[in-house]
Symmetry: C2
């Protein structure tokens, strides 16, 4: 029997929101070749939602506590536990104003951890899976949209981002995540009918705007839209893409085909 | 903004199996009063499935590596992270041959952690929720059944355990968890039709044997039977009971009514 810290550990920065972190962990299991418990990969998940200020409102200038600082501390704890590859279960945390502060902090203390970038992994996945696609719809929160997180990463892979107009994204997507009455962060069991209806409408509209593939670019969205396509247009669950990238980073031979 | 380790942390020993640990974490979120990420309770979850030998086969004498030892080590890591209350997401680990070795180890090193006992919490929950019930059906794996885990704990609360005959429990419940072809540990997304059919049959039979309430006493079972009752007979999700007990232990004011 190996000791508790002998296998390469996958680390998850959870809590952003908490259900999204646990959803990422579940998807790591689902994407691992295993028939018994012992075949699964070791995972450490730290979910400290109270300690990480909201990412989207930081980008929108509504407060000045950079969530990068607690996220960086959590990555340090994961590394101390033995984690070799780490994922952050929040798209908005990948905006340069947050992400670059995290990676600079890791570099400064000589961290040896492999920090995977969910946005880059998603761009790579879309490019590899649909080589002829050029226009990719991105459903996300306002902070991520305004920061152009997907725009920059996708451009490097020859992909053009199709976004909804900001007012529509705000009403149909951002509110479906954040609204205290019907949003996913407040009501996830079950997700409210209002959130699902809004998100389906958003999918329709971004498809009508020319998207050939649609990325669910907020980790709360797959909780409301588990489907793999809508009317033939593929929906990309970026949380699952990150799960697969984490497995590939520590044990590629265990990745489901 | 509080530091990452300032709130009382809930610790989860996951990996037994891994999906069950993440399911417990999800249920902690679902049972917490929260409308935004920051309202949720901090959780540390360590899922080291490779390091913990199978609990049921240990109790059945098929190997002699007591899973108590790695479980105790994981609890030590959780305590070092600041966890105040810890749950172990596996019923079979609550058998005295395992559980008593865990608690003795914690006592020996003067651990200050509150280790919740899922079986005792479930007995207490059944007693408090259905004061007039006396016969409780228990669906579980062979190791847990033979060790009499539920029998002893329920007797203290005036509850009589109704079990299926061992051959039936083996075929309908144990196999639905462990079978490499159709069991939940090998196939959880989705759970196979065979496992669901077997488990529904087991529910029917234990009800016919006189059970007034039925406990899903293996953390894999709620993944296959999310229902709260079957034909009017309540199904108790012991994972959710443990989730609520963990919240009550660190922040009772945040427990959903």
């Amino acid at each position: 029997v190996p000791g508790v810290a002998t296998a390469p550990l996958i680390g998850i920065v959870g809590g952003l929101g908490p259900l999204a972190g646990f959803d990422l962990a579940r998807k790591i299991c689902e994407e691992t070749i295993a028939t018994r418990d012992q075949d699964h990969l070791p995972v450490a998940l730290l979910s400290y939602p109270h300690a990480v200020p909201d990412r989207s409102s930081y980008l929108l200038g509504e407060h000045d506590h950079n969530p990068a600082l607690p996220i960086r501390d959590v990555i340090g704890q994961l590394e101390a536990l033995g984690c070799r590859a780490v994922g952050v279960a929040c798209h908005t945390a990948h905006a340069p104003a947050i992400w670059d502060v995290i990676t600079a902090g890791l570099a400064q203390r000589g961290s040896g951890v492999t920090l995977l970038n969910m946005v880059v992994e998603t761009a790579r996945h879309v490019r590899a899976t649909w080589p002829t696609v050029s226009r990719v719809g991105v459903l996300t929160t306002l902070g991520t949209q305004r920061a152009g997180v997907y725009m920059a990463a996708f451009a490097e892979y020859g992909l053009t981002v199709v976004e909804l107009p900001e007012a529509v994204q705000a009403e149909l997507v951002h509110a479906s995540v954040y609204d205290p009455e019907f949003g996913i962060k407040a009501h996830a069991n079950p997700v409210s009918e209002g959130a699902v209806r809004n998100l389906r409408l958003a999918v329709k509209q971004v498809r009508a705007a020319g998207a050939q593939v649609i990325v669910l670019a907020c980790t709360e969205l797959p909780l409301a839209l588990p489907d793999t396509d809508v009317g033939g247009t593929p929906l990309v669950d970026a949380t699952r893409v990150l799960a697969r990238a984490l497995i590939r980073a520590v044990a590629p031979e265990r990745l489901r085909g």
